[in-house]
């Protein structure tokens, strides 16, 4: 008789999550809704180098094989175009190799999801923000349970950008975009958690919900959510 290990049959489906929408390279593995383990690298431009090795390390440390995975969840954005493409390309390769479904999770949904316990306690709305360079952020408003209430948009942050929202009650601002709003969010109702960054840990809840309802992304056609159409300028200069 060999010692019986916990077999995949007795365990909840394993979902691998990849988050590369910001400068953080991050992977997590969930058994159903429960986090089994996660790895995060806080640095610049290391997604392409680190993402697959991090998946390898995390699986190894959890004594799992790639074939044990039931689905791959990937951050669809918005966020860094290059970062998102690294995440999506990596996710697609894994899904195709393992013949498992792809799940897409919005980067703002994942950020909001992480502060749901606090928001529920405070009865606060959640405004996750991802830095989109200059004074712009990708953002949307979520209720205390993490349900999105508004369209995802790119907002140029100004003096009174969130004045109405802040008048209506407590608001949790989270994510790397919240840091640059500190100045203008000087309001008693504003709770700024700009140290909360986008990581794969926050993707579990959404990924599990989508897994249970088989809300899978089409591997063939899935693209990151760039938010903005890329517009290149056709040169009108005549050379002669």
């Amino acid at each position: 008789m060999t010692a019986k290990k916990k077999t995949p049959e007795t365990r909840q489906p394993l979902i691998l999550a990849l988050e590369t929408a910001t400068s953080v390279s991050s992977v997590a593995i969930f058994a159903g809704p429960e986090l089994l383990g996660n790895l995060e690298f806080f640095g610049q431009n290391r997604h392409a180098r680190l993402l697959t090795p991090m998946v390898n390390t995390l699986l190894h440390d959890l004594e799992l094989q790639p074939a044990d995975l039931s689905a791959v969840a990937v951050s669809k954005g918005p966020g860094s175009y290059t970062g998102l493409r690294v995440g999506v390309s990596t996710a697609k390769g894994l899904c195709m190799a393992l013949d498992i479904p792809l799940i897409s999770v919005g980067s703002l949904d994942a950020l909001a999801s992480e502060v749901v316990p606090l928001a529920t306690e405070l009865g606060a709305q959640i405004v996750p923000m991802i830095d989109a360079r200059r004074m712009e952020v990708y953002t949307a408003t979520f209720d205390a349970q993490g349900q999105r209430l508004t369209e995802v948009e790119a907002v140029v942050v100004e003096e009174n950008s969130f004045a109405d929202l802040l008048e209506s009650g407590k608001v949790i601002f989270t994510g790397n975009g919240a840091a640059k709003c500190r100045e203008i969010l000087q309001h008693p109702n504003a709770i700024i958690l700009d140290h909360n960054l986008s990581t794969a840990r926050g993707m579990g809840r959404n990924a599990w919900t989508k897994f249970q309802t088989s809300e899978f992304a089409d591997l063939l056609t899935f693209e990151p959510f760039y938010l903005k159409e890329f517009v290149a300028i056709v040169s009108k200069n005549k050379l002669i």
Binding site: T52, S89, A91, G93, M96, A97, L98, L220, I240
Partner: protein, 333 residues
């Protein structure tokens, strides 16, 4: 050992996948991005987005056409560089996780070496050592090939690539992008002696092409001042004499190199090797030198994964594998 290799190429504006078995191409799928034409050149962000859109369909089709399934694969190969970073990232990241998921080795391939090795996809490949003139939109090189994986660049352009000389001329004359095939076609009906473009004087085996387009620009400007319809009326002759100068200059250098290195085999490779005038003059040059000419089949001249696969095949046999931390490089050096 008869390895089955899936190869992926995404260095510029072609998304391509190929399956090879024991160095023979079973399938070679190329998806060319047409969206760049209206910009007169490749727009990197658009190229990256399109690679992302196309990669699964292209890999899927390559597997299907090859008659193999993913469990038959022995290794995954990808273009590591040189090329556009955003484009390379898509193929690289996909290849890494695909190989990892399948639990098989990963092979990184240098795009320029692959162009040279495309000559081994023929039934009568060149014998070592040989020289290869690699000409494309981004590169112009003379390469001394001692063995499959032992190559040395002995001459290269100091400014524009030969393909760039075509594209820039096309832009000046208002021709569609990419201009190479268009100029090649128009030149067929033209007079090569129409205008005597200067021969760039660069010592040794190196090239320069930037002066050529400047000469064309001034030549057209001067003539347009006298006759506003000068380009339209003489388009065939302009193209013929411009193309003639590029091609004869390329081959003069190759001839010089062949004499210096005393090789018995000469090859051409890269997108511009699809050019009819280059093929014609290359044949003449080889005949004069009494050396064997080698030109890859058309589908293996322009960017394609078949050539990545043959390069990977030789690396597989040599046991040269990449690790999961591999990242693209944009330039040699």
């Amino acid at each position: 050992m008869k390895p089955v290799i899936l190869a992926i190429e995404s260095s510029c504006d072609e998304t391509s996948a190929a399956v090879l078995e024991n160095g023979k191409v079973l399938s070679n799928i190329v998806s060319s991005q047409l969206a760049h034409a209206k910009y007169g050149g490749v727009v990197p962000e658009i190229a990256s987005r399109l690679h992302q859109q196309d990669i699964i369909a292209v890999v899927h089709e390559a597997l299907e056409k090859s008659g193999k399934t993913r469990t038959d694969l022995d290794a995954i190969a990808f273009t590591r560089g040189p090329g556009l970073l955003g484009s390379l990232l898509v193929g690289t990241c996909f290849a890494k996780s695909y190989a990892f998921g399948l639990g098989i080795p990963l092979i990184e391939v240098n795009h320029m070496q692959a162009h040279v090795l495309a000559n081994f996809l023929s039934d009568s490949p060149p014998a070592f050592p040989f020289l290869c003139l690699t000409v494309s939109g981004g590169h112009t090189q003379i390469v001394l090939v001692r063995n499959y994986l032992d190559m040395e660049v002995i001459g290269q352009t100091l400014d524009d690539a030969a393909g760039e000389a075509y594209d820039k001329a096309g832009k000046i004359m208002g021709l569609p992008y990419p201009a190479g095939p268009v100029i090649d076609k128009l030149a067929k009906e033209g007079n090569i002696d129409f205008h005597d473009f200067p021969i760039p004087s660069i010592p040794g085996l190196n090239f320069s092409f930037s002066g050529l387009k400047t000469n064309l620009l001034y030549f057209l400007r001067d003539n347009l001042a006298l006759n506003p319809d000068f380009i339209q009326q003489n388009i065939n002759d302009i193209c013929a004499s411009y193309q003639h100068r590029i091609v004869s200059y390329l081959l003069a250098k190759l001839k010089k190199a062949a004499r210096e290195y005393k090789v018995k085999d000469l090859a051409i490779a890269g997108g511009v090797s699809a050019n009819s005038e280059l093929r014609r003059q290359f044949g003449e040059t080889c005949e004069k030198l009494q050396v064997r000419p080698h030109i890859p089949a058309f589908q293996f001249c322009t960017d394609n994964a078949g050539m990545i696969g043959i390069a990977a095949h030789f690396k597989y046999l040599a046991g040269e594998f990449a690790d999961l931390e591999a990242v693209p490089f944009t330039r040699e050096g």
